[in-house]
Each structure stands twice: as structure tokens, then as C-alpha cells.
Amino acid sequence: MRMSNAGAFLAMVTLMAGTVFAHHSFTAEFDEKKPVKLEGKVTKMEWSNPHSWIYIDVETNGKVVNWALETGAANSLIRRGWKKGDLPAGTVLKVDGWQARNGSATANVSSITFTDGKRLFAGSSNESAPTK
């Protein structure tokens, strides 16, 4: 139950990743030449404006790096009926996206995949994504 809730939540987050309320240029912040593929465990979900952030721990060669994944605004998530705590820590995710141009462990998400292989594509930066 918890997992399916998280799954539905992710559908929401990814649908809205980089959407609805961009307050700055994503093209300016993220690098088309730096596509990233990440796999890791959710450490926290930060509900904030103008963007919410999912943080995941990604282990590479024994070294763990905490990546920040930029998603849609908290307001839009709440308007769809979602609540804080709906994406539990420990959830394993695979993420496709683009890294920030400044080289930090920050990514704009294009898709998120669960361990069961179910893939959820992001309507990244798609303003016309429905708000309800």
C-alpha cells in the first residue's frame, strides 16, 4: 500500500518535473551534454517552492553521493491531493536526467523508474501538463 502510494506519487512528481512553475530557465541551469543515469535510495523529499526536491544516495565505487533531483512546485503537488511523507525514505529509484552545468550533484529529471522496471516518463518542462 505504501509502495503503491509512493508509485502514484512519483507519477505525479515526474509528470510535473520541471513543469508548471519554472521560475528560471532550466536550459540555463542544466547541461544537455551531461545526461546522467542514477540509481539510489531516497533520503528525503523536500517540499518547497519554487521547486520540490527529491534527494537520493547514489553509490559509485564505494563512495556515496547525495544527489538532488529537481521537481515541480509543492503547491501543485498539494493541489493534486498529495501529502508530506508520501514518498518514504529508502525507496529505490533509477533516474534519467541532466546534470547541472556547474557540475554539482544536481539533476533535472526526465524519467524515474522503480526497481520493478515500471518506468514513468516526465513531462519535463511541459507547461500544459494539467494542474488537477
Binding site: G18, H24, S25, E32, N75, N102, S125
Partner: protein
């Protein structure tokens, strides 16, 4: 120690017995016969509309205090004199006081919360309808939208800096219950604080036509031993015809160099050398477009005007990513093109401005967009930024409240624009009705805003005429005609549809968590370093 049920009992009994705060004042008003002389709305309620300000010294310290740097001495506005802190909280307050110059959230331009916003010594304006009380504050364009209803908030439990406000009338007193505030705000510069369990009950009573007696009862069982009350007069500002702006974060960033305005679009000071761009273009008049046919079955206000009150989203077709039609470019969405004049959808740029527009889309310029810094979007961008807004029609005014904390106040009585020398992020707007269409004329812009995140250009010289044409079914056809002789060769017009929805605004405290800005700054700084090396 008073027991906690005091607050509950008080709330329950208040309506019937008027035993709680405000009753003494209300009786006094009636005794002196003042009640009959009070300004009243058409539905018979005390009329709070107007511009008000508190000068009680409470903003510095709610309790008795000696003078200190930046803080005049003042006497307590707390009933009984002292705030009843629990012992641990008293220690925390003392720590806040010691660190106040760096620890006060207001120092970072965060929203002050309630009640602090009410007694900061800036003017604010109240707009009143039977269903809503809106308060627009000069400080950082903060507003409160108070719903006069017994219905709970649509999104109860959504923490915010300014909280949720629900109001009801107890006789001639407006009682506002404020819930869902976060635990980050203080009550004053002195470090008086609260937890997320804060509940504020405000009481607004007209003592006379020009004085609101304001009371706020503070309940927070995690911090205080009992509820406590502050009270102070709010005084009508008869010599303040309109609110101006103090954009806290924008002014701070311009002062410390984090934000650099463009000297080509910024308003020149008197005596400045002539613009390197040469004299402004001689503009032909705007093309007269066929008027939008307004709805046949519009809901109307008591004055017979179309009632557009409500929560709106723009079907903006990606205008925030470009006003001209273009296809998707990496993470910049496609835009359908919203320019209806010129008919080919191309903005009539002057050559320098077209070059600037192209440059602004380069990654190292992303940092220069004022909204990336969380500054206000300006006019007309606030309408089509992908973020909702509320239209409120109060007597004599249309007010626009934008979810990302900014307001526009549009007076309808036909006043002139303010002095040319006063330049504002949101400009100076005046409105009038042409049939059923609301026409809003805006000047006095400061030339700092971008028209969208790809950098469509507009200067301080822009004169904007917006038309809100209401259609049936909660729709509005919105047009904005921009005449800007510094950046364009002729006027141009955009058209965007607005749709009403059964929703309530949720606060966006944009710069509280603006992690993107540093990334954008890094990209810009790297570019500047590269340029230095190449020289």
C-alpha cells in the same frame, strides 16, 4: 497559571457574551454613540477599506524596552506587560535577542507572519467584500487574503509564512483566526518567537472612522504558559493616496551586487547622460484590434459591473518561455506564440533589443532574469507566469493577488498616474470599464523586469494597456498592448485566455529555498572568468 481551556472557553463564549478581547472597546464605541457614525459597507458591516499604518513601536519589541542601535525605546503592547514564556522558551528568546542582528528572519527578507506584518511600520491597504478581506502590504508586496467564511481552508495543514486566515463577524468586530503558520517567523526584532503550534486570533474594531483598534491573542502551548494578548491602534493614512513598493529581497541584492540591472532598460536619473541607444523611437499609434465580444450572461457585482472575482490560471501557451512562436529547445518548452499584433506574430524589436533578446537565452544569462532571483514578475508577465492569481473586486478597486506573493492594486476612480520619477517593479496601474471590459493602464515601470525567462525585452519607457474581457463560464480573454519606444519600433499586443477555477491560493515563498540561483550564478561566473582569460 491560567489553564489552557481559557482560550477554548473564550472562543466559544465570545460570540454570545463578548467576554473576550475587544468587548470593552466595542462597548465604549457604543456608549459614545460612535457606532452609528462609523463608515459601513452596503451590507452594513464596519468598512475597513483604506490605507492604514501602525506606529506603536511594537515592530521593535512587543514588551517594554530601552533604546538600542536601530531601535527606539518603547512601551509594551502586551496586556499585563510581559509575554508568558515557558522557562526553556524564555532562554531561547534571550538567545534570539542576543543574535538578533543576524538571526531575525526579516533580515533575510522572509515573510514576517501574523501578527508581525500588521505592526511593521509600513502602510498597508485593506480591501473588503462580503466574502473576502484582502490586505496588501507595502513591505515586499506581501498580502493576506482572508476568507470571510466558516468553511475550513481547502488545503488545511499547508504550512506557510503568512498562514491561513478565516474570518467571521462578532457584532461590529471582525474576528480572524490564523492557523498553519510555520515556526520560522518572529514577533519582533527583539526575538520574540513561537512554534508551529501558533494560533492567532485577531480582532479588528473601528474605534472611529480613522482608527482600527487591533488586538491579537497569541496561543502556543509549546512556547507560552497561557494565551496572551497585544493591542494597538491602526491609523488611517489620509495623506497616502496609494501604496508604493519596498521589495526587500530585490533591494538587498541590488545593493550587494548579486543582481545587476541593465542600464539600457533602467530609468535614467535626472541629469544622466543621454542613452547610448539614442533617442527613443517615434511610435505609431497601436493598431485598433476588433474588440473581444464579452459574455451575454455574466455574473455581476452590486454596481452592475462584470464580477470576475476568483482564482485564475492562464492558458498561456508557453508565453513565459517566449512571446513569439518557437519549438522546444532542450528544457525550454515550445511556445505557441501569443502575439496577435503584428499579425505575423513577430515582435517589432529594435535591432539592439533583438540582439539582447537572443543573448539573454544563452545559459550564462539565465542568472540575469529577475524571477530567477524570485523578484516579482512585473507587468504583464505576472499574468502568464505559470502560477495562479486571484482577482478581487472591492468598491473602487480591482486587486490582483499573485500566488508567488505579489499584488497589483488597480484603482478605478480615474486618478492620474504618479510622478514620473517614482519607478516600480509592478508599475502604477489605473483602470476603467469600457462596456464590460476592464481596461488597465500601466506606466512608471522600472525597466528591470524581463517579459519571460528567455528574456523578451521591455524598458522603463513601456506603457502597457491591458484588457480583461470576461466571457461566459468563468473565462477571460486577456490582452496586453505594449508601447515601448526604447526597445521596439511600434506597439504590439499579446492575447491569452484565463480560466477560473474553484481553488484557493497557496503561498509561494520563492526565495526561501532558491537553490537554483547559485547554479545559475556559477554558470555566469564561469563565463566571466573565461572572458577575462580571453582578453
Amino acid at each position: 497559571m491560567l489553564s489552557w481551556p481559557w482560550g477554548t472557553r473564550c472562543a466559544l463564549l465570545a460570540a454570545v457574551l463578548a467576554v473576550c478581547g475587544g468587548s470593552a472597546l466595542a462597548q465604549q464605541v457604543q456608549r459614545t454613540g460612535g457606532a452609528s457614525a462609523l463608515p459601513r459597507t452596503t451590507d452594513g458591516k464596519p468598512n475597513f477599506q483604506g490605507i492604514w499604518q501602525v506606529r506603536s513601536g511594537a515592530a521593535y519589541d512587543l514588551q517594554d524596552h530601552a533604546a538600542r542601535a536601530g531601535m527606539p525605546a518603547g512601551k509594551s503592547v502586551v496586556e499585563g506587560g510581559a509575554i508568558p514564556y515557558q522557562p526553556a522558551a524564555a532562554a531561547k528568546k534571550q538567545q534570539n535577542f542576543t543574535n538578533r542582528l543576524t538571526a531575525d528572519p526579516l533580515g533575510k527578507c522572509f515573510m514576517p507572519g501574523v501578527p508581525r506584518i500588521m505592526y511593521m511600520e509600513y502602510p498597508f491597504q485593506i480591501f473588503q467584500t462580503p466574502e473576502h478581506i484582502a490586505m496588501a502590504f507595502e513591505w515586499s508586496q506581501v498580502y493576506r487574503l482572508i476568507y470571510v467564511t466558516a468553511k475550513p481552508p481547502l488545503h488545511e495543514g499547508f504550512d506557510s509564512w503568512m498562514g491561513n486566515s478565516r474570518a467571521h463577524w462578532e457584532g461590529d468586530t471582525l474576528v480572524v483566526e490564523v492557523t498553519d503558520q510555520n515556526d520560522k517567523t518572529w514577533f519582533d526584532i527583539a526575538g520574540d518567537f513561537h512554534s508551529e503550534a501558533l494560533h492567532v486570533t485577531e480582532r479588528y474594531t473601528l474605534a472611529d472612522a480613522d482608527t482600527i483598534q487591533y488586538e491579537a491573542t497569541i496561543t502556543d502551548p509549546k512556547v507560552f504558559t497561557k494565551p496572551w494578548k497585544i493591542s494597538m491602534p491602526m491609523v488611517r493614512q489620509k495623506n497616502v493616496p496609494r501604496l508604493l513598493e519596498f521589495q526587500c529581497q530585490a533591494e538587498a541584492e541590488e545593493a550587494n551586487g548579486d543582481f545587476e540591472r541593465d542600464p539600457r532598460t533602467w530609468y535614467p536619473k535626472a541629469g544622466s547622460p543621454p542613452s547610448p541607444l539614442g533617442p527613443p523611437a517615434v511610435m505609431p499609434p497601436a493598431v485598433a484590434l476588433p474588440a473581444v465580444k464579452t459574455g451575454a450572461n455574466l455574473k455581476r457585482t452590486a454596481e452592475g459591473k462584470p464580477d470576475m472575482t476568483g482564482y485564475y490560471n492562464a492558458n498561456a501557451g508557453g508565453a513565459n518561455y517566449g512571446l513569439e512562436r518557437h519549438s522546444r529547445d532542450f528544457l525550454t518548452p515550445a511556445t505557441r506564440g501569443v502575439v496577435i499584433d503584428p499579425a505575423d506574430g513577430t515582435l517589432p524589436y529594435q535591432a539592439w533589443a533583438r540582439t539582447e533578446r537572443v543573448n539573454r537565452e544563452l545559459p550564462y544569462r539565465g542568472y540575469d532574469d529577475p524571477t530567477a532571483h524570485c523578484f516579482v514578475a512585473g507587468v504583464p508577465r505576472g499574468i502568464y507566469t505559470p502560477s495562479p492569481f486571484q482577482i478581487l473586486q472591492a468598491p473602487g478597486y480591482v486587486v490582483l493577488l499573485f500566488e508567488r506573493m505579489a499584488w497589483r492594486i488597480i484603482p478605478l476612480e480615474g486618478r492620474a498616474h504618479i510622478s514620473d520619477n517614482v519607478r516600480l517593479w509592478q508599475g502604477d496601474s489605473v483602470g476603467h470599464w469600457e462596456g464590460d471590459t476592464l481596461v488597465v493602464d500601466t506606466t512608471n515601470l522600472n525597466g528591470k523586469t524581463w517579459l519571460n525567462e528567455v528574456g523578451d525585452v521591455m524598458s522603463h519607457a513601456a506603457h502597457i494597456v491591458e484588457r480583461f474581457a470576461p466571457l461566459d463560464g468563468g473565462k477571460i480573454t486577456y490582452r496586453a498592448t505594449v508601447t515601448d519606444p526604447i526597445a521596439y519600433t511600434r506597439p504590439w499586443t499579446i492575447e491569452i485566455g484565463l480560466s477560473k477555477d474553484n481553488e484557493e491560493l497557496l503561498e509561494v515563498a520563492c526565495h526561501e529555498d532558491n537553490g537554483d540561483l547559485q547554479h545559475l550564478k556559477d554558470v555566469r561566473d564561469e563565463h566571466r572568468e573565461q572572458q577575462k582569460k580571453e582578453k
